[in-house]
């Protein structure tokens, strides 16, 4: 045995190994080849057994050749292994393909009712101007619902509020949120900025634009020097927040509990002011009533009308919601047909 023949054996072994590695087509075959060539009982070891027959000065040279060849086989194994893994992964990914255009797995979500949502929207706007929310009772007394609001018994203005009475003497279902003004004034001192949302009741036959139950939001601001100009500025902001940049106007109105009283109109949201059936061809839509709190009402609230003045406003929530969502029929709100409610997603 000499160095040349041993080296030749090693190189043949390497050629054989590299050829087999290149042909291997799964990780198991590679593992087999690793054992076959590099294992304790493998080909390389077998060849090296002949090293003992070499002159001592040749032995390190054979060792170096063997290491070189062993490295070359290891690298070939690793490279082939990587090739096979990446091919296998590519195949798996192809197999895992899904139709991404199928609809997703539904995550169920309900919808919020437009009435409380509109109340929340109104409260959010006025909240930015310091108005805090109060709530009053829905079963009211005649005194607070009418008399303290400057509506004496047998006042002709009572025709404006057809009333539902209950089987408790002196009590009724509040016809508006305005009695809340009295309750707020009686429970706190100026400066007052209060918002009073809630359910109201009237003796009114139901049709597309009337109901015996409905919701209102009342506003009240009282301080020294609170004026009609403050009211106008605030309501302009409110209208712009809700309906975008639109013209607004005040015109005289009538409520027994405010003096002067105004109606607040916004340029028709349907026709933009040119006139259409929705605005009775006037180009304007009335969104709320307001005015300066009547001195009588301030007095009932325990507030000195000589020192303080203030304004109040009241709006129908359904009216605002109608304008925001183009709801064609007032009955939709309390009927709760899911085909209506589920549109508010």
């Amino acid at each position: 045995m000499d160095f040349e023949s041993l080296s030749g054996d090693l190189h043949r072994l390497m050629d054989l190994a590299l050829a087999e590695i290149a042909k291997a087509d799964d990780p198991a075959a590679l593992e087999q080849l690793q054992i076959q060539y590099l294992g304790k009982k493998g080909g390389l070891t077998a060849v090296l057994r002949g090293i003992g027959g070499l002159p001592p000065e040749d032995r390190p040279r054979v060792g170096a050749v063997a290491n070189e060849i062993g490295e070359a086989v290891k690298i070939a194994l690793a490279e082939r292994g990587a090739q096979l893994r990446s091919a296998a992964q590519a195949q798996r990914l192809v197999a895992e393909k899904v139709d991404v255009t199928l609809p997703g797995r539904t995550v169920r979500r309900g919808t919020l009712h437009p009435i409380p949502e509109t109340i929340a929207a109104i409260a959010e706007i006025f909240g930015q101007f310091g108005f805090v929310v109060y709530e009053g009772p829905e079963v009211e007394d005649d005194l607070t619902n009418f008399q303290m609001l400057n509506i004496a018994p047998d006042h002709p203005a009572r025709d404006l509020w057809d009333t539902l009475y209950v089987d408790i003497p002196g009590r009724l279902l509040r016809t508006h949120t305005s009695p809340g003004q009295i309750r707020v004034m009686q429970s706190t001192r100026p400066p007052i900025r209060a918002l009073l949302p809630g359910r109201c009741f009237r003796y009114e036959a139901v049709d597309a634009s009337h109901g015996f139950e409905f919701f209102q939001v009342e506003g009240l601001m009282v301080d020294e020097g609170t004026s009609m100009a403050d009211l106008k500025g605030l309501l302009d902001e409110f209208a712009h927040a809700l309906f975008g940049p639109r013209k607004t106007r005040f015109r005289p109105g009538y409520y027994p509990f405010t003096e002067p009283s105004v109606a607040f109109d916004v340029e028709c949201v349907v026709c933009g002011g040119v006139g259409c059936p929705a605005c009775s061809k006037t180009g304007w839509m009335t969104i709320l009533g307001a005015g300066m709190v009547h001195p009588v009402v301030l007095q009932y609230g325990g507030i000195d009308p000589e020192r303080y003045q203030g304004f109040a406003f009241g709006m129908g929530v359904e009216r605002i919601a109608n304008l925001r969502h183009a709801v064609p029929d007032l009955r939709y709100y309390l009927e709760n047909d899911l085909r209506f409610l589920e549109q508010f997603r």
Binding site: R105, T106, R109, G110, T111, L112, I115, P116, G130, V132, V133, P137, E138, V139, N150, D154, P156, A157, D159, L164, Y165, V166, I168, P169, T188, I192, R193, R199, A205, E213, M221, D223, G225, T226, S227, M228, A229, D230, K232, G233, L234, R249, F250, R251, P252, G253, P256, E259, M292, V296, Q299, Y300, P305, E306, Y333, L334, N336, D337, L338, L341
Partner: protein
Amino acid sequence: MRVPLGWLREYVDVQLSPEQLAERLTLLGMEVKGLEHWGADWRSVVVGELLTVEKHPHADRLHLTTVNVGSGEPLHIVCGANNIAPGQRVPVALPGAVLPGERRIERTEKMGIASEGMLCSGDELHITSDAEGILILPPATPLGRDLSELYGDVVLDVDVKPNRGDALCLIGLAREVAAATGAKVRWPEITVQEAGGPVSDRLSVEVREPQLCTRFVGRWVSGVKIGPSPDWVQMRLQAAGMRPVSNVVDASNYVMLELGKPTHTFNGAAVKEGTIIVRLALPGERLETLDHVQRELTADTLVIADPSGPIGIAGVMGGADSEITDATTEIAIESAVFDPVSIRRTGHRYALRSEASLRFEKGQEFRLARIGADRVAQLTLAWAGGSVAKGRVDTAPEEPASAKLAFRPARVGKLLGAPISTDEQRSLLRRVDVDTEPAPAGTRIQVAVEPQPLVVDPGSEETLVAVVPTWRRDLVVEADVAEEVARVRGYETTPAHLPDTLMPAYRPSPLRVRQLIRDTLVGAGLTEVVTHALVSPLHEARLRWPADDDGVAFPEPAVGDPIAVTNPLSTQHSVLRRQLVGSLLDVLALNERQGRADVAIFEIGNGYGRADAAPREWTRLSFLLTGSAEPASWNRIASPYDLDDAKGLLELLCRSLALPAPGYAPDTRGFPFHPGRAFSVREQSPDEILAGRVAELHPDVVQEWDLRSQRVIVAELAILGLGRGRLPRIHVAPIPRFPGAERDLAVIVAESRTAAEVQTTIADHGGVLLRRIRLFDLYRGNPLASTEKSLAYRLEFGAQDRTLTEAEVDGALEAIRKGLAADLGAHIRS
């Protein structure tokens, strides 16, 4: 009020277009709700002249006419009326014409003779109430002209507010037009030719209730001839929405529309002894009113009577016996001022509210009683002939002077937020006939009238006195002057700016907690509903929901009897609900009818009850689940809602609200609950913020509500924060620095034991090292006895300051094991 523009122009010049006028009036506070083109529904109706009128050869009652309509050949028209003669000018509906009510006129044949159109009666045109004869036009009416051009008018529909009774008439609105445009108001010339004897020979009046009838002016007209009033009068009344009746009745109605003064005309012959007594009705008295209804009069009804009994309900409706008929020749005119409250009550009591009573209710200008009586007498004479008796009967001839109202111009400016010079205020007030004078020394300001009059000393502030016109009964306090200044000046001149005064103190919003709950439940798949608070009494009867004081401590408990509405619109909505559950069942029923089987809804709303004659209200969250929690789809099978979903929602709510996990206690009462599937819930914070009842409904309830759904799960929850807006604070524990140790524990326990009992026992015996308990398996079957079940828990132990040793964990586990054995007879499966 309907205001024909042509009629209005008689009292004030109007240069504006109807649309412009409508806007100006609206901006002055007289809201014009609509503009109607009166006569717009006469199409192709022209003025014609009758050339010939002959008998129809085949029909006695028909005439053949030829009519010149100004151009083309004369038309041949067959006509059934008897009041026609050659030379008359008449309205002719040409072939193709359309009359009110979409009635189309075509070329026809009548009894064998062609008719090229139709001659029209006043009734057919809705101009007068005469349906018998053809409307005969004045001889000078231009031939061929469109009738709508000649007689058409624009009618304004003005919404006169309840405080402005003075504007419920043409003169009143003419005053408003004058205020808006600066034009002058023209009163009609009111003079009465008195050719008869003294009125005192015919009529005497005794007012026994001077509080309720502050003035009664009477006049008498003899020898009238009752008939239709002139066509132009009928046209005006029709356009104003009032049906013409007869010349005398029309005169009274005309004056009411013109001056705002309701009057009544009696058949003078029916007024016994010519004596009118104004008094309260006597017990048992009856009256047949003009609408031919026999009415039992109550003792507080003010009546107009003669010595033999009532002949009218004052201010509301006259009696049938004294009604003007075709045979009437003697007319007694009543022009009175009644107490508005009394009229209003009477109108309500008899459900009789007329145009007259509406005006009386709003109060009457005192002097109008005199003017109205004169005007009715004048028009009666003009339209029905006869002679007017000399003078008036007048129970209170003295007419009060104008009221005076002191005001501070600076205050007016302060209220409006815009300084307005005194001179400008004075000239603005002048436009609504309010004169101003310098205030004499010592003048005081009326700030409020009720509840206690507030009169203040203006000190050195500039003060004026407004002289209030007698018709403006609504100007009483200083703020009323401010409104006149503001509306005449126009609100477009009011500046707008955001308030810059002090802000109020912080107050938590009750909407905040609700918003959190709403968002949570919507995110969990429930849809929010808002239902009627007024429900059918059947809700109570069908549901028999337990009262809150029955076994569970509720925050703001719902207790007491239901509150009923005494004047409900329908029994469907006649009682205030105590629970929301019934309303949700109604919503389910409605949606089932639309084919919906999967319904998950909630509502936050009030319940109502009465306790000791005082109303009480409480706020509740209620939800209802039925059908599939997850509807089936291509990638998932449907899973029906069950009680565990309800509990999942409760637990989610508690997490959202930062509350401890809720505890459940079985409720086995049965109806209205499924006896084995109902529980009360209570969250376990010391504040007891959440409590309620959750159940699958008893099948009998489901059936009573006529529901298709088999299983309906409902919850009614009281949440303290719903009304308060504050939530518990979260107190953070330090993050554990040392890892915990987990152990699984399978507890075998008798069926009768609840999971809550097992969990509580584990917690009680777990000691300080037990951090968390989680149920992960429930098992029944082999090798367990049929009376047993196995609950498998994963327990986590740990301490803040060290990693636990095996021995420590085993010790804690052993304590739990012993506790379970001792308390529940449970043993551990290993």
